[in-house]
Amino acid sequence: MAGAVLRRKRYIWREWLTSYLFLLPALAFFLLFVAFPMLKGIYISFFDYTLRDFDFVGLDNFNVLLHDDVFAKSMWNTMLIVLVAVPAVVLFSIFAAMTIYKKSEMQRSFFRGVFYLPAVSSVVSITVVWASIYHPNYGILNYITSLFGAEPIGWLGDTRTALLAIILVLITTSVGQPIILYVASLGNIPTSYIEAAQIDRASAGQIFRKIIWPMLMPTNLYIIVITTINTFQVFAIIQLLTSGGPMYATSTVMYGVYEQAFMLGSFGLASAMGVVLAVVIGIISVIQFKYLGSDVEY
């Protein structure tokens, strides 16, 4: 009897030990390269941290940001990009998914693939071709608008169009994953629900509002939250197409972080910007969860 208890105890101990050993690599990498940098980022945001100095300055960095016009402009631009791009991505993805999910397997994977192309391609390739499309003199976009009698525009060099031009590219690179997810969740809606509604003579609009939309809610929540988080961090497209210009018209917070840290060497201020951005993203994610999550039935 005592021997059995001991054996049982030893067995549990071994289970625990093997579990921790199996977890160790993942946990070590995670703590070292994700958790620790996150804490360090908060820590150095209170320092004047450049290549020469490392001095504690309290909240000075945040105070600087509060009174910095460029930072305000970057934050405004970031918000604008999120407000335009996220709804556009969600609406386009739902439209595309609704149109393709009933097609044959071959057509479905063809369209899914086409809309995913910009997301799997290197962002550098994407910006190379868009820079040529947008070019004021040789660009194909100005050629096409000129056929309709429009004057040529420097799409990326004009403060009025630059941000819009960036947002368009951003949208094309962001819809791939949402479309895949929407197609998957539309496929999971039992056809009997929709058939029953059709027998009851429900219109297409009613079917969408009353059946399809509620069933899509969990996917909506996920896609909106993820797309918002990603859009807030838009960087590569901007760095490669406009470098934040002209006149900071396309500067975003993430681009500002890059500029401060890696071009001006001021890591403390850059980290403070990163902390502000993370807090803003956090607050908005929580709001989205609260607001959209209440409709979700798991």
Binding site: T18, L23, Y116, S122, Y143, I180, R201
Partner: protein, 295 residues
Amino acid sequence: MSAYTEVRHGGKREGIAVERRKRRELSVGKIAANILLVISALLFIFPFYWIVTGAFKVQNVAVAIPPEWFPLEPTLDNFRVLFNNPVWKWGFNSFFVATSEMIGVCLVASMAGYVLAKKQFPGRKFIFILFVSAMALPKQVILVPLFTMLADFGWIDTYQGLILPAIGWPFGVFLMKQFAQTIPGELIEAAKIDGCSELRLFYRIIMPLLKPALGALAIFTFINAWNDYFSQLIITRSTSMMTLPLGLATLQGEYTTPYGVLMAGAALASLPMILIFLLFQKAFTQGITMGAVKG
């Protein structure tokens, strides 16, 4: 009696008419939606068409207005000029970094995902929540402190600096845990009763069962690693450590580089990923869908 039949008949006929009208409305909407879909698809394909055709155009053709929609006299000169740069080295760097990340993530994530799904031990729930909540963390925000840390290690402009940080990203653990939950516990018990050691059990039984999820995770990690431009930009310094996208970005930054050469570079930097995606679309799609399902 006959009146009754009349009414019933009329009702039915009316019903059919309504049905027809509805179907007509529906099909008009459907046709419009399909036209819009095809137009958007063409707009999505066009940049890639422009890259591939542009790669074979000489400079004065590439900038010609009206544009030459198809290169009538294709040239390979652009590729020749492009390969004056260390493109082979850049390609090797991209492949090496992406492959290492892929292997690292798959190994580490499947081990962790398996025990998180199938074993009972103190702290299990806490650790899982730690991983999941970190997934919502804005990834690029930690790049500045990560950079200063790698600089302290002396890892700037090294392979370990490019590869190891990405292995800590918790998405893989989450994906593997989700999938490992579907493994029947009896299978594991039976193997243990047969005296199978933990390592053997994992290697011989768990890993093969995780194969579909591992495939998806592998492709996912590989493509993400290849395209992780921001990390590569800040961690790389020398020309010989650059990845293919980064090398291309440098050429793009030198404003004298001809269009055709940039397009050739753009094709090289993206075609491998597009091919991998097209070949493994099914596994890839499954991975994305699995990763989004709530546990």
